[in-house]
Symmetry: C2
Subunit: 262 residues, 2 copies
């Protein structure tokens, strides 16, 4: 099977112009087939403030009302996505920007209203995720750059978490590629001591993970990422790497940085 990298960058890289350019330089240099999934960054909040669109949060989760979905469609699907695509094109990387609506590449369902109405938030229908378009793009040497947006098939765009999109793509595409899923974030990897960037756990399997959780050694914010990682591995992804965008991609074939989850 051919190798495929599915790489997710978060908002912090996107917000800093120099970090983003450095990241894109490294990303463009990866020779294998690759997909980039990007988050949003603070720019949506900034532009939303200027437009008078106030985000509502319930239990720390953003509620996507009709003004907010227009805002994120503009900012994530337009501004952020096309800036990345144009920058990659300038580096001889044949990027193509996609939201889940484009070529129906990420069909989703509006999250059902239970205790909380999340509004225009989408959960990916992995069973309906057709590999045809993805395979076509990748085999033609195109590099998909995916905004954190899906659609419901009824004409509505939906806000969807970029980590989840990356994991869903990695899992689905592991049927046809040997997939490495890479989560870039602001830390050097999963840390044993959250304030100590030198305490990166180099290799993590389920046994090590459950011991660390039991000892309450891990930063709570990282737990969903690791759970996603193990879920991806259980469903066919070869390995998951978590770490700092700045040095992760340069060493992506050496496995000397970040946390490798197997």
């Amino acid at each position: 099977m051919q190798q495929l990298f599915v790489i997710k960058i978060g908002g912090n890289v996107i917000d800093e112009k120099d970090s983003l350019q450095l990241f894109l330089h490294d990303f463009a240099g990866i020779k294998a087939k690759k997909i980039l999934v990007h988050g949003g960054g603070k720019i949506a909040t900034k532009i939303g403030d200027q437009l008078g669109i106030v985000s509502t949060y319930v239990n720390g989760r953003r509620i996507t009302d009709e003004h907010t979905i227009d805002l994120v469609t503009m900012v994530y699907g337009g501004l952020v996505n096309k800036k990345i695509v144009a920058a990659l094109q300038s580096r001889a990387c044949n990027a193509i920007g996609l939201t889940g609506a484009d070529a129906n590449c990420l069909p989703a369902t509006k999250r059902p209203v239970k205790e909380i109405d999340y509004g225009f938030t989408g959960d990916i229908d992995t069973s309906r995720l057709a590999l045809t378009s993805w395979h076509l793009f990748l085999e033609q040497g195109l590099v998909p750059v995916v905004a954190p947006l899906t659609h419901d098939g009824h004409g509505h765009m939906l806000n969807t978490n970029a980590d989840t999109i990356a994991a869903s793509l990695a899992i689905s595409l592991s049927k046809v590629y040997e997939v490495r899923l890479i989560y870039c974030f602001e830390k050097k990897g999963v840390l044993e001591e959250v304030e100590d960037n030198t305490s990166v756990i180099r290799l993590m399997d389920k046994k090590i993970y459950s011991r660390l959780v039991q000892e309450k050694r891990l930063f709570e914010g990282i737990l969903p990422k690791i759970d996603n990682a193990f879920d991806a591995i259980d469903k066919g992804v070869k390995e998951v790497l978590i770490g700092d965008a700045k040095d992760l991609l340069r060493n992506v074939t050496k496995e000397t940085v970040g946390t490798l989850i197997i």
Copy 2:
């Protein structure tokens, strides 16, 4: 040769929600291969006003400074483009939204500064316009939905007139398809009397055109569109149809409405 429709809609259709949905319904119903090129609409100006981005005009032409290019990238490439794509997907039309940066499908050059500096405005490099991606998309049954944006290959998005994009695509793709270029606008067609919607000129060739120009019978605003149309025909496009979006597409195969330019 297979038939291909290249259809351009302008801002007025985009600004009116009902007109747009009606148009997209008709567009989705066209059985032949097709490309939709859309303009921007007033929404960019409205959002720009709210963000404090003031457009400068010289001789009636908008100057695209760095704030304006971000604005139109957001609004045309994000909001407008993805709304159209999601709406077409809901009508079983496998749309894919594109700017010129995506898959490098519309390489362009920043307009050289002479008397006027148009800023981030792009002129399409038709000689570098690779048919590979377009052909690939069309042959896979995808329906490109093109925002009026190109890129310079150096990391910058560029503002480009939608009429020009439609004509350039129609001309380039006429090497592999039998192309009909359709300009939808607010009039019923080219009118002999600009205020009289019943005075549509049904068929126009260069002879009729030069007579009407000589007699100063035509509305000045329509002249560039007709010049573009004849240029497209000279360069291989089979025919150009100009008229009202509302009734043009429904009758697109009957040739009973609008102005047919041959």
